[in-house]
């Protein structure tokens, strides 16, 4: 990857990104939908875009997904 495309990728923002507050506000609903069917994520583009861009919210989401997963047998 050349310098121009690396920098451009670094600075890209997604206009669909809903931000932390809205993503966290819906995370308990979203995580159950994704746990039931991972394809659901694409229907909630704003939250999915945010979780791709925001490390801390993605970390919380991964933790919540693990918390609601059925215990390993």
């Amino acid at each position: 990857m050349n310098g121009q495309s690396a920098l451009d990728r670094f600075l890209q923002t997604d206009p669909q990104d809903v931000g932390c507050e809205e993503a966290m506000g819906w995370m308990h609903v979203y995580v159950e939908l994704v746990a039931a069917d991972p394809a659901t994520a694409s229907r909630y583009a704003g939250i999915a875009a945010h979780l791709r861009a925001c490390g801390p919210c993605a970390e919380d989401f991964e933790g919540l997904l693990a918390a609601i997963a059925p215990p390993a047998t």
Partner: protein, 224 residues
């Protein structure tokens, strides 16, 4: 985005009818007599603590925290999550299981506690500026320095001239100094959403300025 409409809360009877049995039982016991409510809070705290311990363990590989300190964070997170849940239980709309909604508070509190803990042993002072790290942060290949040197110099100039003082401070802390977002929020007395928004706006402004000055093409690698 258009999330599903939340379940309307028109009173306990209406909400109860829409809830799964486990969630309904939690709401009944937490809202029951003082004895019943106290017992439910003790059970809920034990559940939250189990989740908090699992979560700090899950994150521990990326943290410089272990042993009793990690368990202390789990306890603090469970305690504060329980207080938040009790204070906000009227906001539970029944659009997920009660426990999923409750665990979200644990995740938030774990992140907040870890963010605060960062400042006990920070890698660098908050006002440090490690500009030499910028190419590395952008994942630029050192072998191609001649190609990106001018671009990085332009970016550095624009960081100083285009961003507001607050945006610059947040950009430098997170991008150059690798301060975690939640740690920066704690240090600045702010919150994750405000820090993220400032960084989002800073990135957008820098990209627009680089395009306006001919360093980037407006159509370069647009995300699908």
């Amino acid at each position: 985005m258009e999330p599903a409409e939340p379940t309307a809360r028109g009173g306990c009877a209406t909400l109860d009818a829409a809830l799964d049995p486990d969630s309904a039982a939690w709401l009944r016991s937490l809202g029951g007599s003082p004895t019943e409510s106290d017992a439910a809070q003790i059970r809920l705290h034990a559940l939250l603590l189990r989740i908090a311990r699992s979560e700090v363990q899950r994150r521990s590989g990326r943290l410089k925290i272990s042993g009793p300190e990690l368990d202390d964070i789990a306890h603090q997170a469970a305690n504060d999550a329980l207080m938040a849940i009790i204070a906000k239980i009227g906001q539970f709309r029944g659009d997920s299981r009660f426990t999923t909604w409750a665990y979200k508070f644990v995740m938030f509190e774990v992140s907040t506690k870890i963010g605060r803990h960062f400042w006990r042993n920070p890698a660098a002072p908050i006002d440090a500026e490690h500009w030499e790290q910028l190419p590395n942060r952008l994942a630029l290949d050192p072998a191609q320095e001649a190609e990106w040197q001018e671009l990085v110099a332009a970016l550095r100039r624009l960081i100083d001239t285009v961003l507001t003082n607050r945006q610059r401070r947040i950009f430098v802390s997170i991008v150059l100094n690798e301060v975690p977002v939640d740690a920066l929020a704690a240090e600045l007395g702010s919150n994750r959403n405000a820090i993220y928004k400032a960084l989002f706006d800073a990135r957008r402004k820098l990209r627009a300025a680089l395009v306006a000055n001919g360093y980037l093409d407006n159509n370069t690698s647009r995300r699908a």
